[in-house]
Structure formats: C-alpha cells, structure tokens
Symmetry: D2
Subunit: 345 residues, 4 copies
C-alpha cells in the first residue's frame, strides 16, 4: 500500500505531528489530487491549539488543512471532464446533493455538510481525496500561490459581492487575512471609499498596501465620525464584519447607513447583546450571514477576478515553508506576524 | 378662528382628553383632510399610558393618532392632483425629501423623518393637516374601515412581501393586529403553509379565522418540530417577527431554514442576546429590519390587494366607537379583548 | 426480456402507434418509474403531427411524452433516498451537471440539456427511465391528476413568479393550458387585477373559471385601454406572454407599464419585428426568457402551492383516456376542445 | 431685463446660432445655474443636423444642450439646502413627481417626463434654469471636465451596474462616448474580461486606452468565438448594447451566455427583427431597457466612483472649445474624430 507524508492531529491535545500515512483510496466519483501548495487557516490554528470548538468537533487522528491547490493524480471510474495533470483547487464543503438547499442553488449551506480537513481528511499531505463534484479546475494564469488561498479568498469575495459595491462606500471591520482580501476585492470591484478598521498596526499597514482609502484604528480614531463624514448616506452603504469580536460587530451596525447592509463572516464565540430596535429595525437594515463560498458562483467570480489580474494579493503571502516546518508557520500566525503562510509538502 | 374637537395628550402624565382646538392652518403644499375614521395603534396606547418611550419622545400638548382615512377639505395653493372631496389616506412619516435615502427610493427610512401623531399633530380630530407628498388617494372600492387601518396593514404588507412568499412556508411570530394582518397577506399571496405562533388564545382564534394553516401555542406546542415537519427546507422559508419579545425573536431564528429570511418588525424594548454564529452566520440567513411602509411601493401593493378584495380582514374590526369614547377602546386593547378599534370624530 | 406497451413515434411521418417495446434497462444512478398518469403537451402534438420543428429534432423510433407521475419500480445501485413504491414525478430536462449553468444554480438552461420524450425515450409507456437527479418526490396530498401536469404547471409557476406579483397587476396573454395555469397561479399569489387575453371563446371561459378578474377578447375589446384603466402604473406591472404569436407579443409590450416586466414563454416560429426603442428602451422594461422550470426552486414552490391546496385546476382536466386512445386526445386538442388530456397506460 | 449669450436652434432647419437671449426667470422651487462647462451629446448633433426625430420633437426657437456643470447663481424662495456658489450638475429629465413611477423610486421613467435642452431650454448658455429637485451637488474633487459629462456617464453607469459585473465577463457593443465610458466603468467595477466591440478604428484605440481587455473589430474578428473562448459560461455574463445598430443588437444576443443579461441603451431608428425563441426564450435571458439615469441612485454611484478617482476618462476629453466655436465641435463629432467636446460659454 502506497504511503505519503501528512500533518496529523494525532491526539486530543494541543499540537500536531508529521506522519507517514496511507495514500487515500478513491471511489468511482472521487479525485485524488497531488497537493502543490497548501495554506494555513485560522481554523487550523484552532485545531492545532485544541481550543473548545476543536475539542467538540475534531476526532483525532485527522489529517487537517483545507486550503490548497494541486494537480489531479488519479480519477475514479465515473468521473467526467477531469484527467491526470489538471491544475485544480476544491471547495472542501462536501454537500449531500439531496437536500432542499443542495437542490435549489444553495449547496454552500447544505443541511448535511461535511468539511474536509475538519470532519474528514484534508490537504496537509502529499495527496488529498476530493469528490469530483467539489473540484474546481484552474487556469494556468492563476499562480499556485493564489491557488492555495482560494478558500479564504472565496469567503472574502462572497462577503463583498453579496450586495452592490461599485460606487458604494464599504467599511471592512477586522483585517485578518480574509478582511484584508476583502479590502482588495472591494477596491477591485469599484467600491469607494473603502474603510479598513483594525486594531493591529501590522494589519493596518497591509490594509493600506491592499488599497483601503481610509485605514482606521478604533482605539484612536472616531470611526463612526470618519465613516459618516466620507459617506453619502449617513454611513457606509455596506459594513462587512470579519473580526467576530463584539466590539467589531457593534461598530459595523453603528457605521452603516439607514437602509444599508451588514454582512457577518467573523464568528463570535459567545452570544452578543444586540440593540435590534435601534441598530436593525429602525434603520431598515439588511443583515446577512456569510458561510463558505457559493457553489460555484463565488468560484466563477473569483476566477474572473484572478484570471484578469484584478487582485494583487502579494503582500499577503508573507511566509513560504515546507509542510514539515508547520510549527514555524503556526507560531508566526499566533504572534500576529504573518498573513498567509504557504506550505509545500 | 375655526375650531374642532380633538383627542389631546394634554400633559406629561397618563391619560388624554377631548378638547376643542383650532383647525390646523395649511401651507401652500399641504392638504387639510376631514377625518372619516381613525384607528388606535399600539403606539397610541403607549402615549396614552405614558410609558418610558413616550416620556422621551412626546411633547404635550399633542393631538395624537396616525391611522385614518377621510376626505380632502382644502388644498394649499401649490398642490396638484388633489381636490375637495377626494377620498384619501396618508403615510404619516413626513420625509425630508433631500437626504440620500429620500433621493434614492428609500424615503421610508429618511434620516430626518417626523411622524404626524407623534412629533406633530395627528388624526384623532375632526381635521388633520398633511403634506401633499404624503397623501395617498384611495379607490371607493376600499371601504372606510379598511381605509382607517392602512398604516398597520402597510407594515404587514411590507414585512410579508419583503421576500418571495408564493409557494413558500411562512412563520408569523406574534399575532397582535399587525401579525394577524400578516397572516391574511401571506395567505392571499400564496404562502404555504402559513404558521401562526401566539401565546394569547383570543388572538390564536383570529389567526385561524384569517387563514393560518397551523396555529401554534409556544407554551404547549413544539413549535420548531411542527414548523420543520411541515416545511420543505428544514424550517420555514421566512420567519416574520411581530412580537418584539426576546422569546419570539429567538423562536424566529430557530424555525427558519438555512438560507431563509427573518424579517423583524416587532420592537424589543431592550437589547437581546443573539447567538449570531449559530443563528445567522452558519445558517447563511438574511435578516431584515422593517420600518414603516415603502413609499409608495407598499401602498400600491396594498391598494392592489384591497381593490381586488384579496384580503378579508373583517374579523379584525372588533370595535367601532365615537372618538369621545376613546377610553373604552384603550381599555379593551389593554385587556387584550380587541384587535382594531375604529374611531369616528 | 420484459416488455411493455408504449406510444411510439415510429417513422418520419405524421402519426404514432402503440407498440410493445422492451422495458428500459437502468444504470446505477437511474430510476425506473411505473407511469400512473401522463398528459399530452403541445409539443407532443407537434411530434404527432410531424411539423417542421419535429422533423429537425426528432429521430424515430421514439417513445415520446414528458408529462407524468408514477411510482418508483426499481432504483440503480448508487441511488440514495428513493425506494420502490415512492410517488414521484420528474423534470425531463436532463442536465449535464458540469457546465457553468449547472454549477451555478441554473441547470434549467444547461448548455448540453437533453429532453426525455424528445431526445430520448419518454413517458407515454408503462415504464420510463429517469436519472435519479431528475426525480421529484411528491406528497400524497397531490393527486395523480395534478402529478401528471407538473411539467407545464412548472412553466406557469416559473413565469408568474419570475418577479413580484402580490398586489401587482398581471396580464396573461394567451390562454392555452399553460396560460390558464398561470391565471390560477397569479390569483393564488395575490396578483390583482389579473387580466386574461385570449381569442378563443372556450379558453376565455376557462380563464374566467380559474379566477381572472378581467377576461378580454383582443378581437373585440380595446385591450390596452382596459388594462391601463385598471392598473396603477399606466399599464400592467407584468405582462406574461404564452401565445408565441407576434400579435400577442406586441400586445404584451403595449400593455405593460414603464418599468414593468415582460416574461416570454410562448415560442414564436419566426423572427418578430420589435420596436425596441419605444417598447423596451424608453420604457425601461425588463424582458425575461422563460425556459423550463428552475431546478428545483420552481418544483419546491409548486409543491408548496399544491400541498396547501392553493390551486384549483380541476377545470383543466377535461379528458381522461387510456393511453391506447391517444388519437382521441390528440384530435380534441387539435380542435381546441380540450385543455389537459390525461392518459393512463 | 438681463440677457445672456446662448446657442439657439433658431428655426426648423439644419444649423444653430449664437444669440443674446433673456436670462431665465426662476420660480420659487427653481435654481439658476451659471454654466461653467457644457458638453455636446449625440442628441445635440441630431438637433443641429435636424434629422427626422428632431423634426418631430423639437419646437424652435430652443436653447439646447443638456450636459453641463456650473455654480448656483440664484435660488427660488422655497429652495432648501442650496445657496449661491454651490458647485452642481443636474439631471435634465424633469419628472412630474406624482405618477406611479415617480412615487415608487422610478422617476427616471416618469410617464410625463420633459427633458431640458429638448422640450424646454437647456444649458448651451451662460445660465440655465433647473428645478431644485433635479440639482445634484458635486464635490470639489470632481473636476469641471468630469462635471460636464455626468449625464452620459450616468447612462454608462446605469447600464453597466444594472446587474452584477465584478468577476463577470462583460461585452460592450459599440464604443461611442457612452460605450467608451462603459468600458471604464466596467473595468473599475471589477468586470473581467471586458470585451469592446467597435467598427471604428479610432474608437477601438480609445477603448484600449480605457482598459478593455479584448478590443474586437466585428468586420475582421470572429467576435462570438473570441467572447466564448474567454468567458466561463459559454458567452459573456453581460452584453451591453450602445450602438443601436441592428448588427450590434444581434451580436449582443449572440455573444451573451445562457442565463446572462443584455442591456440595451443604443437607440435603433427602426424595428429590428428578433429571433426571440433562440435568442431570448431558450437562452433564459434577461433583457433590460436602459433610459437615463436612476434618480438618484445612479448619481450617487457615479459620485462614489469619481470622488475616489476610480475612473480615468481623460482620453475622452478630446476637444475644449468656446461655446461660440460650437460649429467646430459639431463637425469633429460628425467626422468621428472626437469623443467628448467640452464647451465653455
């Protein structure tokens, strides 16, 4: 039996380790992909650190990781349209295909979704097994660096483009990697002005590089006043929340204009006290929960943006490491000194 | 100077009194309307009872009341398209006409809105002065009973029709007068099934009369199970919240399907702890704050429904009184023994 | 080898004949359905009559027919969620599953669609083979009469609900079976008024029975004047075209209000001279081409409407025949003396 | 009585002449604007040349011209929020304010619209009278060159942004000034690829400068093949028609993908034979008629784009002339040697 190296969450405790494990066997509708580049997500950091969420969700041993690109190594007998050598990425949300959501164009919120790298083996390995329905073929014009971050970039694209942005003011609350990508997507999509709101100075610098018109520090700047002063409707047309922090969430609702939209992607770890009357009802707001990437609308939009070089995300590729050096990458992310850490097996 | 009788919030204390006051003088773009029938809103009950909100917002003395229909008595010199005797109602949200929202089709959430009957004299009187831009001409096919409740009916219409409902499951949480109207609007608009969720037995009876397919008592029924069991997508396509109570709000988020919408009209008096992660973000929901009636889309839709007799709201017209008998009406509403109380000056 | 009776387009000439043919063999993802009731479509009439379109598209011998319901007889080895005896219908548009449209929620306009009953064997038989992805499970509350006409009813539902209709004026141009169903769907969805425009007196009678508010004969009535006189916006909010006739098409564009929508389902056999400037551009219209049924949104909406008895289509079930009496059914349809002809094998 | 110089269509014949005419008197809700810069529209060229349309619509003598910016000189007694010296432009479509369209957010297609510069005196003069409801205040960041072309730029913005474009392929058919602006707007809004299709070589050069990814000559290039080859859905997501020529219109319908949109702004002078079956119905297209600019959504979007410098339209400002040199400008436009000709009184 063929084996491969992989980064494994080996036991119910902090940490992870490189192991030699069997290459996955594929079924008739699966694709085996040789991983070219993977990337570390905040979720991987949680799994690595073994936080409360991980303890409730992850069943070790597990090959984790869910951001990657690579080349098709082998296809199952019933797979059409894919062949060895094809350059691909994948959406790791494995949808059932049968529920109401799957059958009505909303498979990204399938009632029975399983996530590769969380609920089943992922991509921190030489090979990863993917259902063919989840594979996304890529053009050569999209470099492997970009190919490795399409999962979080898709989150950003879905959040930004969940409403009109061209010629509209957009406030981005929280500039972690996805928020930073959102800055670039909003700029590329004609938003103006783009406000980036972030406590961390290092990230504010990246927001500036990626094209934010106004970069604000909520600990020093009067965010609401600046946003209102530079918006046409008494606040931002759209406030996009990536921090998941109660302060960020409240800020998003404060700075959006009456009739605007708030799109929530950042995940708060506890309930948040919301003044629904003042912040949503009287303002006539639209609030959207954003989960994953629309299958596959968001991927098509992302490919459209990337193949035409509308996004310049180079400032985000802060670290390139071997998979076996994963610990260095996890550490730099935890210390807030990195944006996207790319790993090659 | 001509005088008229009016119901006046005379002082900063509970209660109200009939007084003889001057007939309003109108400006060049105003219309003076002779009130035919008015109706008592929950807001009027608050003003009458002098609750915390009223104390912060109302400046006595004030002629209150904002639901009515009547006939044009006199028009200002610059008013076009209206003449004495015209049968009309009005949206009492006086919008500025100049702000971003007013200039982009969202005058219902004007940044500088004033409400007649709250911030300026209202319709509990023989005559009421209305800016011509707020007047809505009515067809004779719409009876004066219906004409008197277009303001809350418009709330219901806006809430129900803020998303697709035909062939979709709709849950209505809270069956006060507006929730009950929403039951009828949802039925008339092809929703199916329509779930009505209400603690009060009297109101549940009205919900049944108005066409709800399933009428549920949250103190006895397993609401989530019933709704999921009779919906196609793992919950209702739309959950419409009219109670403003934290329990009702939480229920709305529980019973809506992934990818569905929650529309909030009921006004909670305090912040509500929301599990944004589970209830909004992972579910990929759309949440809407509903305020007033869209100007004048909602009115056109409402007239379309009423002129074709698509709504049968007779069960709601529980009381018909002289304006001077207002106390009886206020009492019956407070005791939960009435739905809409109609008053004639 | 098992055989079954079937209605076969046997040769490249007018007519069709009952034959005994092999029961279809199913693959691992197919379902064999025992047909309970089928129904004759206008397309079947074309195939039977062997018109120009049929000659260019149909390759005899072919079991035709594509409207039906029945019960699962057998399922392929990889089929999940279906078992013998299940009551089902199906969308006969077999989509590729791989193209852009299929992967972005628009499989109803798949670039590589094949239609069962047109491009491959259909349902005028004891059994029909269907890919499991096309099967739609039905509730027992939907009778087999209704189950047999879900294909055209889905056309009507998609056309009517392609835009807002509750409280909106809707004009239905052409009252063949699908137009008549659209009358019922529009009424059930709160449209008002509903105008039905049809030359044929028999069909106008059915339109009245199905709930049209105004039934107009374009050869006698001043259609544009009546529609404008009973609409709020200087014309109908939506004009839905089911005739495919140039006169009907021109009428639709004349009677719709500025800013309204025209939805085209009827298929003109030749190019139509359009005054784009006056009829579309200056009016700021939205024009929609309607093809098939949205997969499976339209089916879910249809099931929502039917399971709650929001549609009463009994007047359309004009003929019930044995499949072997197909000639009688074809004749009555050709003579305009029938609406839906139901066939049982 | 004060007088001013103006360009006047003096008689029902080709040509126009500079005249001294009275400065317009303003009413209580009007604004008198001192014109800083005006710009020549294709419509002005028609009026100047006295074509069939002009003969049927224009009543000489008329001060024409409808693209401009300037500064407030005087305001009527009831005008709020504007004062002498304010930098402004205006939408020259004077809407009635009372019809269904005006009252439901669609004033740009008012049933009773009058156009300043066509139906009433325009801006080719030292001063122009504008209803205050039509005035759009401008930020100083928008130069007077840009301020003078907001009317056609608004046409382009409305056409491009009438559907999603970020990450979507957009084909622009016809690169006159508005088509060229649309190229820039599409690029600024993240469209990709942007195809520009134009017969005239000079204009193709401008399309390239303004950011088109593929510039095609329909007389030499296989437009359909190139568009399909570089699009993800079997054609462009959106085809925007600015030529008004039957060939351009047919091309737009050919190159759009199934399920895409075609937006029509170019005005054909005669009916066009349309293959509705193949080009609209089977393709499941959405076709939009675009007229003017949405009031004032489009203006807000435009200001958002311009104030943040998202558009670089300098290549379009080909000629700067005194108003009295209008003949030079008209000639250069007629000869296809200019894009936008700016005039200062």
């Amino acid at each position: 039996m063929a084996t491969m190296i992989a980064l494994v969450k080996a036991s119910a405790a902090p940490g992870a380790e490189m192991q030699r494990v069997p290459v996955p066997e594929i079924g008739p509708r699966d694709v085996l992909v040789r991983v070219h580049t993977a990337s570390i997500c905040g979720t991987d950091l949680h799994i690595y650190g073994w936080d409360a969420w991980s303890q409730s969700r992850i069943h070790p041993p597990l090959v984790f990781g869910h951001e990657f690109c690579g080349h098709v190594e082998r296809v199952g007998g019933e797979v059409e349209g894919l062949k060895q050598g094809d350059y691909v990425s994948a959406d790791m949300h494995v949808f059932c295909g049968h529920c109401f959501q799957c059958r009505s164009g909303e498979a990204h919120i399938c009632q029975f979704v399983k996530i590769l790298g969380v609920d089943a083996p992922g991509c921190f390995a030489e090979f990863v097994k993917i259902p063919s329905a989840n594979i996304v073929p890529l053009e050569a014009a999209i470099s492997t660096d970009y190919g490795a971050i399409l999962d979080p970039l898709g989150n950003a694209v879905q959040t930004v483009l969940a409403g009109p942005v061209a010629g509209r003011s957009v406030a981005i609350v929280g500039c972690g990697p996805i928020g930073l990508m959102a800055v670039a997507v909003a700029r590329a999509s004609g938003a103006g002005p783009v406000f980036a709101i972030e406590i961390n100075e290092y990230r504010r610098g990246l927001a500036r590089e990626l094209g934010a018109d106004y970069v604000l520090d909520p600990e020093k700047d009067d965010v609401a006043q600046v946003v209102r002063g530079h918006s046409q409707g008494g606040g931002a047309d759209a406030a996009l929340e990536f921090s998941g922090h109660p302060d960020g969430i409240h800020s998003a609702f404060q700075i959006v204009r009456p009739g605007g939209r708030v799109s929530l992607l950042g995940i708060p770890s506890k309930p948040v006290a919301m003044d629904l009357t003042k912040d949503i009802i009287f303002k006539g707001l639209t609030v959207q929960g954003i989960n994953g990437r629309r299958l596959f609308d968001t991927w098509y939009q992302m490919i459209g943006l990337l193949s035409q070089k509308r996004l310049a995300l180079e400032p985000l590729f802060t670290d390139r490491l071997r998979l076996s050096d994963f610990k260095t990458g996890m550490d730099r992310l935890r210390e807030g000194r990195a944006a996207k850490v790319l790993l090659t097996p």
